[in-house]
């Protein structure tokens, strides 16, 4: 599997032969080393960076498809540096190859075009790189190798490889056969107790080619890079520390000024490659489509087509649950947007509520959402990391389907998508008190609050088919971050809801059922809107006027003008929040005297309706709470019923927390 280390002195002959090509590498490597040594670095980082200097220089000088004058050229090789430790090497490469103006930019994601990914927790960059390679593979299939013909290189650390997310992503890379992905890595600077070697074996077992090279041996590095270009699998190049004798084998050539800047081998090669790419691009038959997708624009007439396709798909959907509607929307989208890439986790298929256990992998084929979906099995976290990479690559719209419960696993990748402001669509199935048999471990409680707390993420929790369509629309139009649809596998208990009485779902919150002179506002989302509607009918029979509000998306609703929010939520009267989830954060809409009807504990094993009863999320419980509250507040003020919709003198009562 691994190339033999060329520690043989007979290699010297070959080295002399190659020296014409390699002297440039050796000189640039030396220049990079001088730059590195000028930086203030902790000792272990210095060791690692110096060790990786020759392999990385060889890559940049002779292989990397990178034009320093156009660092965001779509067909460039992606050089991913996921940790701050390794960034000085990228800085050195950019200094040596690029114009001085670029070198002066801070080396941060979003500020320097050559930084492909923001640094984060170990392993996330490897998963993102898998996504980039996947995006390349997908685009190459559509546009051909004349337009899409690049590779993804990762300068990783040993700790990256040992994380769960990297191991999951590595399995996915092996499964998808991403042969244009290569990870360069070196063992830790200190003593290593075999963990590094174990990581290599694990990658090898995940369908990777693992090559070990002497990090100080230019010829070995050169042949490893050449072999990587021919590889049929993703490649891991382990750059091992040089034997002491070998470290000195590098020719001592002075750094030459003409090797840096636009005269560097990288710059010359990159400029030539890009020019010929531009010529091919200019006369390519799919040029317009490629341009549109790279720029992330919608096709012409998308809005009309989308509504038509959506309507058609919704009609042909089997059920009326939001989950059916959401997946129908996905199918409609996949017909219109060739750039849509859908990854699905095995957990997404936990649809079959009658069966007491999860569907097996073999039955998934039956339940496929889309003809073109890519199954990611159980590797939810690796999949979420990949989605980021697809979004970072550009040219594709990444989307995934997974179970609501696995969002905890995907969270650290999701956060990076939000932080880097990339558009990723998440369809989370199995929301609500849905899967009664699996115990509390399969019932979302605090997930909803924890997602709403994340900046730049839009969370949609639609209640019926109409709202699901509106939420799909809003999710597609959500700018600057990921968007998420939480979908419930149950039929709506109420049947089709009435048309909005005031406002629209696309504004994040609206009035479903308006009562003149409202005494109570019932605020709900998702499956609980139907319960709220039923409760309002019950209350009406008792002469209590209850308006029903649905807030499918807090983020959008919070963006609306205060006057709109006030009209929807009502200027006065009791506010009751109803959601089969933790009430954390609901005070924002309920105010201090509001009542929340939801879950303050984890779920348990029971059929769904029994769970709604167990947690008191029922029409009867809501009506009871409303009556009790109205009586108390009426008694306080000495009248039996308060004058509705009038500002009133109010003593700030005791703070209600999760009533």
């Amino acid at each position: 599997m691994a190339a033999a280390l060329s520690t043989d002195p007979t290699d010297l002959r070959e080295e002399t032969q190659l020296s014409a090509q390699q002297s440039a590498v050796a000189r640039m490597s030396r220049a990079a080393r001088l730059l590195l040594n000028a930086e203030h670095l902790p000792p272990h980082a210095r060791t690692l960076l110096n060790r990786m200097c020759l392999p990385v220089t060889a890559l940049w000088c002779r292989v990397l498809r990178f034009d320093p004058s156009a660092p965001d050229w779509p067909d460039r090789d992606r050089f991913v540096v996921p940790s701050t430790t390794m960034l000085p090497l990228l800085r050195a490469m950019l200094r040596l190859t690029g114009p001085a103006t670029e070198a002066a930019l801070p080396l941060e994601y979003g500020r320097h075009p050559a930084v492909e990914v923001a640094p984060g927790l170990a392993g996330q960059g490897v998963a993102a790189a898998v996504g980039m390679a996947f995006a390349e593979q997908t685009l190459a299939r559509r546009f051909g190798r004349s337009l899409v013909n690049h590779r993804t290189w990762v300068l990783a650390q040993d700790t990256d490889l040992a994380t769960g997310v990297a191991m999951e992503a590595a399995q996915l890379a092996g499964r998808f056969g991403l042969d244009r992905l290569a990870v360069l890595v070196t063992p830790p600077a200190g003593p290593d107790n075999g963990d590094f070697a174990d990581s290599l074996t694990r990658f090898s077992a995940s369908g990777w080619t693992v090559r070990k090279v002497d990090a100080g041996n230019a010829a070995a590095i050169s042949s490893a890079l050449a072999a990587t270009l021919r590889a049929r699998k993703p490649t891991l190049i382990a750059c091992l520390p040089s034997a002491p004798g070998h470290a000195l084998a590098e020719p001592h050539l002075p750094p030459e000024e003409e090797l840096t800047g636009p005269w560097s081998p990288t710059a010359r090669r990159g400029a030539t490659t890009r020019r010929s790419w531009l010529r091919r691009f200019a006369r390519h038959r799919l040029r317009t489509a490629f341009e549109r997708e790279i720029q992330g624009q919608r096709p012409a007439l998308f809005e009309e087509d989308w509504h038509r396709a959506c309507h058609w798909q919704m009609q042909s959907a089997e059920g009326h649950a939001t989950q059916d509607a959401g997946l129908a929307g996905l199918r409609a989208l996949s017909e219109l947007l060739p750039e849509l890439v859908c990854l699905t986790a095995a957990s997404a298929y936990r649809l079959d509520l009658a069966a007491p256990v999860a569907l097996p992998a073999t039955q998934q084929a039956r339940a496929r959402l889309l003809p073109a979906e890519q199954s990611c099995g159980i590797q939810d976290h690796g999949m979420a990391g990949m989605l980021n990479g697809i979004a970072l690559h550009g040219g594709l719209l990444p989307c995934c389907a997974a179970s609501m419960m696995t969002v905890d696993r995907m969270r650290s990748a999701l956060r990076m998508a939000a932080l880097m402001r990339r558009k990723v669509l998440y369809l989370l199935t199995g929301d609500g008190l849905a899967l009664g048999d699996g115990g509390g471990g399969w019932q979302p409680v605090e997930q909803l609050a924890s997602l709403r707390a994340m900046p730049h993420l839009a969370v949609f929790r639609p209640c019926d088919v109409r709202e699901t369509t509106a939420c799909w629309d809003a999710a597609l139009n959500w700018q600057g971050g990921p968007a998420m649809l939480l979908l419930c596998p149950y039929e709506n208990q109420h049947g089709p809801l009435p048309a909005p009485a005031f406002g629209t779902p696309s504004r994040g919150g609206y009035v479903v059922k308006q009562e003149e002179m409202r005494q109570v506002t019932l605020i709900a989302s998702g499956p609980e809107v139907a319960i709220a509607l039923k409760a309002s009918h019950h209350l009406a029979r008792q002469d209590i006027r209850a308006t029903v509000v649905s807030i499918p998306c807090w983020e959008l609703f919070a963006e609306q003008p205060a006057s709109y929010r006030k009209t929807v939520l009502g200027a006065s009267g009791l506010r009751v929040g109803i959601e089969a989830a933790s009430g954390f954060g609901w005070e924002r809409w309920l105010g201090e005297e509001g009542v929340f009807v939801g879950m303050d504990d984890f779920g348990t094993s029971a059929p769904a309706n029994a769970l709604y009863e167990r947690f008191g999320i029922t029409v009867e419980a809501i009506c009871e709470k409303v009556r009790a509250h109205l009586l108390t507040s009426g008694a306080e003020r000495g009248s039996s019923l308060r004058t509705p919709d009038q500002p009133r003198t109010r003593v700030r009562g005791p703070l209600t927390t999760r009533p």
Copy 2:
């Protein structure tokens, strides 16, 4: 590595020889199969359960240390079934071995004593089992093999092994040499494209012994189980589907009634083993300590000793940051509680703020928190899963130190601890706008809200050394769930805070600085309390009376009587929340007209003080907001300054969201 499959017909002779011992296994397996076939199961589950029937019966009949009459005996073998799919096999075993009363209990965690873990996402049960084996190893070192001499068996699914958390936990099991851990697994029921074989190789690369056996061959299973008992490494037993001929080799014996219930081989062997254990236990010199720890009780005079040790350790702590104080508390605790087990993640050591990068593994030795800590490297998620297992095992108090940022990775394991109501202590370092260089990926924003939303979890965010001690106290006394201390590596900007003016930190929230006739209440937590105090001094110079409140623990504060909360937060006046985190959920304390000063975006790369300024979490910004708000609300009512601490007529204003 793997035992050869005995498909050789010459084995039949050996089988006849062994049949005296194995006829019981064969008969019980047949009885179990009848029970399984009587259940309503989806087809793939039926295939898997039938395949695992013989291996599991062999384990229960001949190896498992389990007394059905005392299923919670501390020295029992742990038989972990982490998925609902495999539970019917456990139910069959319990039916065949135990008394009828036990068999009638629902097979759920917390309701049936033989259920060791609640089902959840794939892989979490494997990680918990690693923790149980770790707990056994730790307890055996203290109490010797005469008291602690059991094993942990896991009945896993193929999907469990492919998850990141299982692979991380597998690495940890290999690193800690948990030779008393064995995982039984079988390939998926449908076609498998090599993923299962890859999983085996990955486990083998993580320091496990992997044995492949024919699931229908009793002799092969028997020898694999015997080899497992002698193993020096954790073992994975892959039970492969039988060759068609072999499946029939099982002797067709009728199920016999005398093999079930208390007369079963398991019950007889278990009762004998437990009786002799009880005899050894009765005269063991560490009997009292063992009993105390298994029951989770504190040693006598713990309170006084703890305060003394804590005081001493705090004094000898190097700095005055809460991180130093928190770790000093941990050292104090480790002196007093021999049952304390501390796992540390490499991320916990990101202490050195001067260094632009994380500390390398080699420098960790220098920074060790405790002499007895166990380093879990980069495998945070696997570590969190292990902590659950340690807590589930009993007899130990699991604790971990990790970086605040990695909590997203640990979240799905943390949730299981909260769901199962197990006490696990988390010390999270690097809280606050602390690590300026790593970019937004290393700065917590929404983590705090997402943790506070989780039921049964207590989150403590102390502001100084005194509060840290109180929070340690409260965390130790927190019942029925995990507790978490968020620790900041910075020195408190204000220096030592004054003594509480009203209330105590142990009640979750209290008044740090009281002003008579308060106009403003500044509510903060953690490092921001110092900023709030400075702001109150500034405001005092402008004749604005601002009381400062610290809420280190929302969960505890919410549990206090409403009158206490009202006195602390003030009956009226402007409330300002100050926290270097997302404001999600703060409306609970601020009310509708409150103002929140915090972060509405992810962090970025900058020194910490620059970040405080960038996000406007400064004394000046707070004072400016307070003045502006007081002026506006004053103008509204036609007077320049409102009468403080008096209920006032108030028009419900526009809803403020994240101002």
